[in-house]
């Protein structure tokens, strides 16, 4: 087993890997940007090395620097987390060349599955169902439009090197096509330095269901059941759950087998996720494979009791899978909510700032994977996710009630968050009954982003009494009260008069 692992990532996922390293008696090494110097993952690690820089490009994407640190500190393996270098085949190769182990798949698998068109071709060859669309990436938008017309609208425009919803556009009408392709290409160029896109048929009433797999270096592959990630906004997952309310044992078995076939087709090793779309007739289609640990892996852990990071490390160390498909057990239901720093006053745009107060949710069945603490700054430079809040229950209803309770309990000050919106989702009858598609948020935008009726009078009273508190403070600070502070009386009353 490894004695020392470097984590080439930041925030909650770096902390998540460090925790497992600590449990396994492995020394963890953090690397950090100037912005992250005070982050919990830095002081939680056994060793920490500065990368310098602020932006991702200046820090966590400086992989030569990361490799040098790993070699110099004696790390035997590198865990890439998700994002950044996790799906960079060159980096995986360079790690192995430098005599260390990349905790993830072989570079060849990353390359194959990272190129969406190559992955589709491989799936078609291996009889895994795929969505109709272009076989190859397209750089000429008028050429792409011809293909879109041939397939028939609605179509999805997706970045060939894409992921995380970047470089993706849904086009419903021919006249919107060119602008959508240009937008997707721009976003893809900025995010992945590759503006190639491909077109595929948009599946109607789709549900996004993915299967977690583990594969060792000895040809053994198991799937750990599914996660439903249909609740998405701006093509980013917002809420995930395991198991899916849609699948029955028969469909689960078929999709699980397809997931295992996918992993075998690309000689996969380590943890990976095969994403499928399931249409209104319960047909499923291969969407893509994520060749890394996923953000939403905790919901799988909560229903099967495994530690996926620990399994990743055992596999990377060359051990055989410690679990068999037949011996896997699942119990209960789990949800994950991604809490984002978002400003409802600004069309829910990302909202950076400093966390002035934090008292996360707790209690029965709650797990929080967070990379922040009181005083942490949600910076402009990285993703605005604050934390992943998970709830487990004996069944879907109990898990849902626990999540609602936890969201209402979560106390955070100084920044605006997506919590009010998440509460609306969990209160929505369609979500509660499991009757939703990936368009859920679009379909119910008005009610999900509205102000509720309940508690509105409490809010009104709080504002009035809060204002009175302010005025009292000002009164106490007038010169006549003996205070040395300058009077705010005029300022306050002028402001009130505006």
């Amino acid at each position: 087993m490894f004695k020392k692992i470097l984590i080439a990532n930041r925030g909650e996922i770096a902390l998540r890997v460090i925790r497992t390293c600590n449990e396994m008696g492995i020394k963890s090494v953090a690397v950090y940007s100037d912005v992250d110097r005070k982050s919990p993952f830095v002081y939680s690690a056994y060793e920490a090395y500065a990368l310098g820089g602020k932006t991702s490009q200046e820090s966590y994407l400086q992989w030569q620097k990361i490799l040098d640190i790993a070699k110099n500190c004696g790390a035997e393996a590198i865990h890439p987390g998700y994002g950044f270098m996790s799906e960079n085949a060159e980096f995986a190769e360079a790690v192995e060349k430098a005599g260390m182990v990349f905790i993830g798949p072989k570079a060849e698998s990353i390359r194959t599955m990272g190129n969406k068109t190559a992955a589709r071709t491989l799936m078609i060859a291996n009889k895994v169902p795929t969505v109709p669309g272009t076989e190859d990436a397209i750089t000429d938008s008028s050429e792409a439009q011809k293909v879109a017309r041939k397939i028939g609208y609605p179509v999805l425009v997706k970045a060939a090197a894409g992921g995380g919803g970047k470089g993706m556009r849904l086009v419903e009408k021919d006249e919107d096509f060119i602008e959508a392709v240009e937008g997707a290409a721009r976003e893809a160029k900025a995010a992945f330095n590759d503006d190639a896109v491909y077109i595929e048929k948009f599946v109607e009433e789709p549900r996004h269901i993915e299967f977690q797999i583990l594969a060792d270096k000895h040809g053994n592959v198991v799937h750990l059941g599914e996660r439903e990630c249909s609740i998405q906004r701006r093509h980013q997952k917002v809420i995930e759950e395991a198991p899916s309310s849609l699948l029955d044992d028969d469909l689960r078995k078929k999709m699980g087998e397809a997931a295992i076939n996918t992993a075998k087709a690309c000689n996969y090793q380590n943890a990976g996720t095969i994403e499928f779309l399931v249409d209104k007739n319960r047909n499923f289609y291969f969407l893509e494979m994520n060749t890394r640990l996923q953000v939403e892996h905790p919901v799988t852990e909560m229903v099967n009791g495994l530690d996926l990071v620990e399994e990743q490390i055992h596999i990377a160390a060359g051990e055989k899978l410690r679990i068999k498909q037949s011996s896997l057990k699942f119990w209960g239901h789990a949800f994950e909510c991604r809490l984002y720093a978002e400003d409802p006053d600004n069309n829910w745009a990302p909202s950076p700032g400093v966390i002035e107060f934090l008292n996360p949710a707790d209690g029965p069945g709650i797990r929080e994977d967070s990379g922040v603490t009181m005083g942490s700054e949600i910076s402009l430079y990285y993703d605005p996710m604050i934390s992943k809040l998970c709830a487990w229950g004996q069944d879907r209803k109990q898990a849902m009630e626990r999540m609602k309770r936890a969201l209402r309990e979560y106390q955070i000050g100084g920044i605006k968050t997506s919590i009010p919106f998440l509460i609306r989702v969990f209160e929505h009858p369609k979500f509660q009954s499991g009757d939703f598609t990936t368009k859920f948020i679009e379909e119910y935008t008005d009610s999900l982003f509205s102000e509720p009726q309940e508690f509105s009078e409490i809010a009104a009273l709080a504002a009035i009494l809060g204002q009175m508190e302010e005025k009292k403070k000002v009164t106490l600070n007038t010169p006549n009260s003996g205070s040395s502070k300058k009077s705010n009386w005029k300022t306050v009353h002028r402001r009130n008069a505006l």
Binding site: A191, S351, E356, D383, Q411, S456, I458, A497
Partner: protein, 170 residues
Amino acid sequence: MKIFANTKNNEFHYEWVDENGENYLAKDGKRLDVELVPLGEGRFSLIKDNMAFMVNISNNEDGYHVRVVGDLFHVTVEDERTRQVKELVKAASGSKGEKTIKAPIPGLVVKIQSAVGEVVKEGEGLLILEAMKMENIIKAPFDCEIVEVSVSEADTVTQNQALIKIKGVE
């Protein structure tokens, strides 16, 4: 003194009573049993008719952001005098005057979707701003005409930088 609190969906009327040096809040002539106790960091414990709530209050230029057990409310508070002043100002400037749309967040202007003189409907995109790794569409807050565009595509903008000036249309 009459006092009004507006949330997005409701308006509440109260009286702020000063009786022999003691101040309290009343509704329809009846004293309200309500108490707000500060806990620090903008957090308060509010008890109304023995019903207990945790609330967070923060100010912004448009009023108050109040979180009640996770739900968020925008509340504006006015007394009779401020309401009268506001109405006079509103009457003088027409129903929806000019408004400057500012950058909610530092970022890169990737596309300007509207031109000076163009009339756009509420909710339509004005420009696309890339920030924190995502493209964000800045939308029209109401039906309006574009008065001025202060930025160009590929400009890097700072937080609160003026982007577009709009004027309400009936």
